[in-house]
Assembly symmetry: C2
Homo-oligomer: 439 residues x 2
Amino acid sequence: MTEQLKTIGVGLVGFGTVGTGVWETIQKNGQLISDRSNNQFQIKIVKAAVRDISKKRIEDAPAELFTSDWQDVVQNEEVDIVVELIGGTTTAFDIVAAALKLGKTVVTGNKALLAERGAELFALSQQHHAAIHFEAAVAGGIPIIKAVQDSYVGNEIESMVGIINGTSNYILERMTTAGLGYPEALKEAQDLGYAEADPALDVNGWDAAHKAILLASLAYGSVIDPADVYVRGIERVTSTDIAFAKNLGYNVKLLSVVVKHADGQIELRTQPSFIPKSHILSSVNGVFNAIALKGDASGDALFYGRGAGKEPTASSVVADIVDAAYTVSTGAPHRGFLPYSEHTQVKSIDETSTPYYVRFDVTDRPGVIADIAQVLANDGVGISGTHSPVDPENPDKEFVDMVFLLHTCAFGKLKATLKKVLALDSVNSEPVVFRIENL
Amino acid sequence: MTEQLKTIGVGLVGFGTVGTGVWETIQKNGQLISDRSNNQFQIKIVKAAVRDISKKRIEDAPAELFTSDWQDVVQNEEVDIVVELIGGTTTAFDIVAAALKLGKTVVTGNKALLAERGAELFALSQQHHAAIHFEAAVAGGIPIIKAVQDSYVGNEIESMVGIINGTSNYILERMTTAGLGYPEALKEAQDLGYAEADPALDVNGWDAAHKAILLASLAYGSVIDPADVYVRGIERVTSTDIAFAKNLGYNVKLLSVVVKHADGQIELRTQPSFIPKSHILSSVNGVFNAIALKGDASGDALFYGRGAGKEPTASSVVADIVDAAYTVSTGAPHRGFLPYSEHTQVKSIDETSTPYYVRFDVTDRPGVIADIAQVLANDGVGISGTHSPVDPENPDKEFVDMVFLLHTCAFGKLKATLKKVLALDSVNSEPVVFRIENL
């Protein structure tokens, strides 16, 4: 039967870790894929662009597969689907744009490209009736894109809260369980290959933020400007705050939060947050990812799995290729995401509200707690608890860390109040603030 | 723009809880669904068959929508997609078969129908080029069908382990956390509407087993005969064993296990099992469902959410309707499941291996432990631990329950050995056996 199947040609631009994984998966499970697709087509990788064509690649890939010019892939008449795997937002943009202009379907895992330059690319997708598929861009092997786009198509998405950067999650976990400082935990992650030599996008929160932007775009139908989004990374998380969190019953996780409010505005932020140890997201350890989603019909759901790595990412790229093949093989209109809403209003971070953990560096003298508490009280910021460690063997030792747990208030209001607290003589430096998430 | 959209007509057979949920979801989010589907179509419910046409239904449904004859739905020329929501395996079969013979797409949440009579129905699906979609048949609002069918299409599925009957999960949880006996916990579940007046299919394991059969069919491409499947329910789980499990660091969960073995055979069984308290599946409480899936590329993933209920089930039915609408609106070949493999060999339950918990009802006299241990040793069944509760205030009190934790061995071998143990004078009745799952 196989010879009667329509062949869908796939071109890869980039043949590194993920590209190799895609090749291997299709070699290994190609027959299974055709079977499961009711033998409507077979997938064949017909061209792959690589930087260094002389480099030895996997055994079963023929030499004529490779080219050093991405145009050879995009322009190739046998290529129906262009898979962009080089990363970055410049050449990758040119490749994706060129493919779309030729009416070719694009599959990419490039979250930065779509989050930063999605407006241009989705416009090309619409204009040229060519889909962009991007399951691999968010949470590796977890099919969250398809879930939001297809499985929850009948739902208003009320919220999505995710741990979607494995590197940060690994570092925070090691700080929590092994008591490592941030630099040691980062070094360990790098040694294990969990963090890049340049870990900036992972630890500064932007990798997660890009993914959250894509999820929000899917859920609310418009391209979102990254400039509207609040992002803080884990670089300044200290062992001190990790230890306080543990004592108070929390874990610190780099959390991306997307919430649709009654006023139609979207809360969209990424930062290290306190979450209760008892919450299921607290159990997401190592380089795993998880996304808790709430739809108005589906109710609460959670998706958990590997957020990166060769095979899990390849699994998602292959799923996108097959998804695309159904429409490419029949000429039916594609099912890729297209924006349908002019604009999604992102709520100002100052107007978003949670409870907070605030740690002050203070000089321990009579009145310090009263002074801070009074400033908070004057501004109507409620205190749910206070905490300062006492050495049982030396109860008269002066404390330097004074922790206040504060009731829910707007972030802008909190900042204004903390400015007044900082003016107190006994408060020595900018307080450290973490959100306590209401999950 | 709306008036230019192609209308896809949907007919419901059954307008109870889920049918009402489908109606409400499409009324509420219909525009959103069209937007998200790139305005390729709009969904309209054009006919609904009900048992009692005189019964007052929801306000905004016009009287002419309803009929008491399901043929009015299936034969209706405006109906492109027939949604079967009446349950059962007789009339439901006739309805689904009639729709398929007319080349109409079927959406159903009827796990019993597909697990018991799938061979006939999928043959009709193939013959008449009409898809059967059944996301709602497994795990309510969790999109596990689409995940297995589409998102993991490039993966060999190595295993799926799930808590997929909310009623049983609720009862076992209440026995565990509130110390209730089985009858009290069942009564509570019935009072809360979590269990039917006739809870047989839920508590005897067959509801979960039907779902596991469907998951295995999807993953391995053939219809599976329910007669090949091992199923035990929770009716005989006692407070005694729940208490032992807790003390030993386990929770008892009704677990459906699907494993592909190296010999190509599929292990497929449903029973109450011990799982470590630390495993993420142990945190799945109440009426929630979860499925842990392992693919050869994706690695470990977990899907969690509401397993039943009006809105979650409606969410999945609507997702299927929209999925079907893409192909129905273009005439492209459908993407519904079709078997592609002649036969899936289900491994004999006697050849499946796990560690075990075995509780003996014994007469406490010198030699009883030695006697049992000797029988086990003679047969080469390893003991990993023993446990019998001692009353600290009365250490000489005779025990009646003697628990052995046994190393992994084949179930058939265990049964043969236990028969010999039962022949001992000091062993009073059939031992109680639970599998300890290696997750």
